[in-house]
Symmetry: C2
Subunit: 215 residues, 2 copies
DNA sequence: GGTGCTATCTTGACACTGTCTAGTCAATGG
DNA sequence: CCATTGACTAGACAGTGTCAAGATAGCACC
């Protein structure tokens, strides 16, 4: 699997080795693995410590509380999402195709790492006011914003990019949200995970038609 | 506040009084109140029992586990949502206006009862396979479906109502999801709760343009 | 080289959680 | 009237997050 734990929140010196070597990063990795396996609900600070081979109170020293550690994991999740989105559109010029690929990348990440995506939007257990986390979120959003700017230029100079951005993001996140947990929207499982991509394509067509200038 | 606890899951006789009178309903009410105050995260089975004035193991007898009780609360939430959506469009003929009102109703509920809405889509703590819960979800969705059928007739006979339904629901739920927890999408709080209605209006315009038949 | 000093981590405790088991007690059916 | 069943209580168990106090290692400084 892709390497998750990438970044830290604020402290600068990651390689300094005291007792453990690099406990902070090790904890993030263990936590990410645990979130990946059991989702945010199955997460436990003590279990993370156990996996990292340290005592149960060790994480508190680095992250303050559970929220701190989860925030770090969520930040790494956003970084991965940004990376995936960026890679999906590199070299692609057509705005419509870019939008489609962004959507598919988003859905792809949410399918491969449902635990992380679920975590990222849980404000009750993740500190959304954290500086680094907010920056990571903005970075991902900027990727979409850029493409929407291209849509505006190509399709409709009057397009409200801000509104469109929120609209697209909300649509995709809503789809992920509703289908990831097999919500009441698709009680018959008609929307299986492998159909999500196709669904996204349909969404994009509808969105683009909505964005187009009316003749 | 509106009375939440409305329905039970499967048992038929609600008014039968044994020791307590109607513990099942009392527990749902207490649980709903607790969810309303502290959200799904702050929920505790023991706290609910405490508020209802019974022992900590009493709820298990009626609901099996925490999940069972939360599922009942979530079902009541959906019933309330359905009611709100239905009331919002009664007597309104114009499809566009209906869609707009449905969206505003949805957002209105999510603002007034954020805890419930957050709960309803948490598949980890709510049993989405529960029969009654699924039925409640479908009922709400049917309300949207009906209006979209009207949109199809009025705007575009080729409209894929199924796709459009998922699209609309995902968009609105995504918006609620992203802004209710003040996600990274609006780190500057530019999307305050009172702006959500206006945002929904913008969404609806974009959606309708997407649904329209191209000339 | 020795002496603080601070960051790192451990150990133990506390209050709390959900669930399981056994027991109590009321209400109903025969 | 009595037995059975449903409703609920009381206690225990394993697990949780967080706090307080202690141990230990690395570093700066004299």
């Amino acid at each position: 699997m892709t390497r998750w734990g990438i970044a830290t929140t604020s402290s600068a010196n990651p390689a300094r080795s005291y007792h453990h070597g690099d406990l902070r990063q090790a904890l993030i990795d263990s936590a990410a693995q645990l979130v990946h396996e059991k989702g945010p609900a199955g997460f436990s600070l003590r279990e993370v410590a156990r996996r990292a081979g340290v005592s149960h109170a060790a994480p508190a020293h680095h992250f303050g509380s559970t929220k701190g550690l989860l925030t770090a994991v969520a930040s790494a999740g956003f970084e991965h999402l940004t990376e995936a989105m960026r890679a999906a559109v590199v070299g692609v010029e057509d705005p419509a195709e870019r939008l489609r690929r962004l959507g598919r990348a988003y859905v792809g990440v949410s399918i491969r790492f449902p635990g992380h995506v679920a975590l990222m939007f849980r404000s009750d257990i993740v500190d959304h006011d954290d500086e680094f986390f907010a920056a990571c979120g903005l970075e991902a959003y900027a990727e979409l914003d850029q493409t929407l700017e291209m849509v505006r230029e190509a399709y409709n100079p009057d397009l409200d990019v801000q509104l469109a951005g929120k609209f697209v993001w909300a649509s995709v996140q809503g789809l992920v949200d509703l289908s990831a947990d097999f919500g009441p929207l698709d009680e018959k499982r008609e929307v299986a995970t492998h159909d999500l991509g196709a669904l996204i394509d349909g969404f994009v067509v509808l969105m683009l038609d909505g964005f187009r200038q009316r003749t």
